[in-house]
C-alpha cells in the first residue's frame, strides 16, 4: 500500500490579503487535498481561496546558511531612507 502524499495549505482569509501558509495535510491527489483543506482549515469562514502544493515540490533555504544568504543586506544601509541627511527645514520626505 502507498501512503498519501503530504500537501502544504495556503489560505487567503479575504480579498485584498495574500495567501498565507496555515498547515499541511495528507491526500491522495490535488482535488482531495483541496477538499480536505476546506474541512481542516476553514471550518469557520477563515478563507475565500485555498492553494494546495505538494510538499515535495517546495524548495526551502537552509537556516544553517542564513549567514551567507541574508548577511549581504546588513552592510547596505544606503537602501534605507535614514542613511540620507536632509536639512531640518524639509519636514516631510
Amino acid at each position: 500500500m502507498k501512503n498519501w502524499p503530504l500537501w502544504e495549505v495556503f489560505v487567503r482569509s479575504k480579498n485584498g490579503l495574500e495567501h498565507r501558509h496555515c498547515g499541511s495535510l495528507h491526500a491522495a491527489d490535488e482535488d482531495m487535498a483541496l477538499e480536505n483543506a476546506r474541512d481542516v482549515y476553514t471550518r469557520r469562514s477563515e478563507g475565500v481561496s485555498i492553494w494546495v502544493v505538494k510538499s515535495s515540490n517546495i524548495t526551502a533555504s537552509n537556516p544553517d546558511n542564513n549567514g551567507e544568504l541574508f548577511e549581504p543586506a546588513h552592510d547596505k544601509v544606503y537602501r534605507h531612507p535614514t542613511f540620507y541627511e536632509l536639512p531640518d527645514e524639509v519636514k516631510h520626505m
Binding site: 500500500m1 482531495m32 474541512d39
Partner: protein, 318 residues
C-alpha cells in the same frame, strides 16, 4: 561534531529560547528536544483522535437537533485538532504512519481521561465543561511554546476550544434546572467526571519526571499542581451557580490562600488507567485500530484512482 561543539550549539539554542525566539523545523535542535516534542505533540494529537470516540457515541442519540449539530461540530473540531497536531509533529521528521503505529501498538499514550465510559447524555455536558475546561487550562500556555509549528497549531486549537466548553456547560445547566431525574443525571455525571478531570492535569509535581526540562523549553509554563488549583478555583463557583455539588467532602475555601483546599486524589486509579487497566482502554483501542484497518481499502482505492488520473493526464499531454 565534537562533544564540545554540540555543547556550544546547545548553549546557543537555550539562549535563543530564553530570548523568546521560536525554533522552526529546519533549525538545529538537540536530539532530546526533538524527541521530547515528538512524544508530547503526538500524544496530544492521539488524545484529540481518541477523544472523538466517547462523544461520537452520543451523536446519534442527542436529544435535539440543536444539541446534535453542536456535538457533531465539536467532534469534527477534535478531528481537525488531531490533524493540525499530527502535521506539526511531522515537521520533526516522524511520519504519520509511524505515529499511528505507535498509537495502535500502545507504544504511544493518549490522555487517560478518554478511557472512562460516557454512559448518559449528561456525560456530554460533563465532558465539555470539565474535560475541555481542563484541556484549555493545559493548552493556553502552549500557544507561547518555543517550537513554532506547535505554538501555531495551539493558537488555532485554543480559538476553537472555547465553544466546546460552553456547549458542555449549557447542557449541564439545562439538566440541572430540569426535572429531578435530569438534575440527578447531571449530578451523577459530575460525580463520575470530577476526579478523572483533576487527574487529567497530570501527576503531582513531586512525581512529574518531565517538568523541569519542559519548563526550560516552554513546553510547560506552570506546574501540574498549579494548573490543577487554577482549574478547581475556576470550576467550583460554576458548579455552585447551577446548583450541583462537587463530590469532595474536603473541598473548602481557604481564605488565607484565596483558593480552594481539596481532598486526596486517588493516584492509584490514575496509574492503573495509564497502564491500560481503565474501564475503556481496550474498547477505545479496538475502535481506533478497527477504523484504521477497515478504512485501508478506501485509502488504497483513493491512491489508485489518483495514479490513474495522473497517467491519463500525462497521456493527454503527449
Amino acid at each position: 561534531m565534537s562533544e564540545e561543539q554540540i555543547r556550544s550549539l546547545e548553549r546557543q539554542f537555550d539562549e535563543r529560547i530564553a530570548r523568546d525566539e521560536k525554533i522552526e523545523p529546519k533549525d538545529w535542535m538537540p536530539e532530546k528536544y526533538r524527541k521530547t516534542h515528538i512524544r508530547q505533540m503526538s500524544q496530544h494529537a492521539h488524545s484529540e483522535i481518541v477523544g472523538m470516540l466517547p462523544e461520537g457515541n452520543w451523536i446519534s442519540r442527542a436529544p435535539s437537533l440543536r444539541r446534535k449539530v453542536a456535538l457533531l461540530a465539536k467532534v469534527q473540531d477534535e478531528a481537525g485538532h488531531g490533524l493540525y497536531l499530527y502535521s506539526a509533529t511531522e515537521t520533526l521528521g516522524i511520519s504519520r504512519e509511524e505515529m499511528y503505529e505507535q498509537l495502535h501498538t500502545g507504544k504511544a499514550k493518549y490522555s487517560s481521561i478518554f478511557n472512562y465510559p460516557t454512559i448518559s447524555w449528561a456525560d456530554m455536558g460533563a465532558v465539555g465543561w470539565l474535560v475541555d475546561g481542563a484541556a484549555i487550562i493545559n493548552q493556553v500556555p502552549l500557544c507561547n511554546t518555543s517550537y513554532g509549528p506547535y505554538a501555531r497549531a495551539m493558537i488555532r486549537v485554543c480559538k476553537e476550544e472555547s465553544f466546546h466548553q460552553r456547549q458542555g456547560f449549557e447542557i449541564m445547566m439545562k439538566l440541572a434546572n430540569g426535572s429531578p431525574e435530569q438534575k440527578d443525571m447531571a449530578q451523577d455525571a459530575l460525580n463520575r467526571w470530577w476526579w478523572p478531570s483533576l487527574m487529567m492535569l497530570g501527576p503531582t509535581d513531586a512525581e512529574s519526571i518531565h517538568t523541569e526540562q519542559s519548563m526550560k523549553w516552554k513546553l510547560k509554563r506552570k506546574s501540574n499542581d498549579d494548573l490543577r488549583q487554577q482549574f478547581i478555583d475556576q470550576t467550583v463557583p460554576q458548579a455552585e451557580l447551577i446548583g450541583l455539588t462537587i463530590p469532595d467532602p474536603d473541598l473548602k475555601w481557604n481564605e488565607e490562600r484565596q483558593s480552594y483546599d481539596f481532598g486526596e486524589i486517588n493516584w492509584d486509579e490514575f496509574w492503573q488507567v495509564v497502564k491500560g487497566h481503565g474501564p475503556m482502554n481496550k474498547h477505545r483501542m479496538k475502535a481506533r485500530v478497527g477504523a484504521w484497518e477497515e478504512g485501508a481499502w478506501v485509502r488504497d482505492a483513493a491512491m489508485a484512482h489518483a495514479e490513474k488520473k495522473q497517467e491519463r493526464k500525462q497521456k493527454e499531454a503527449v
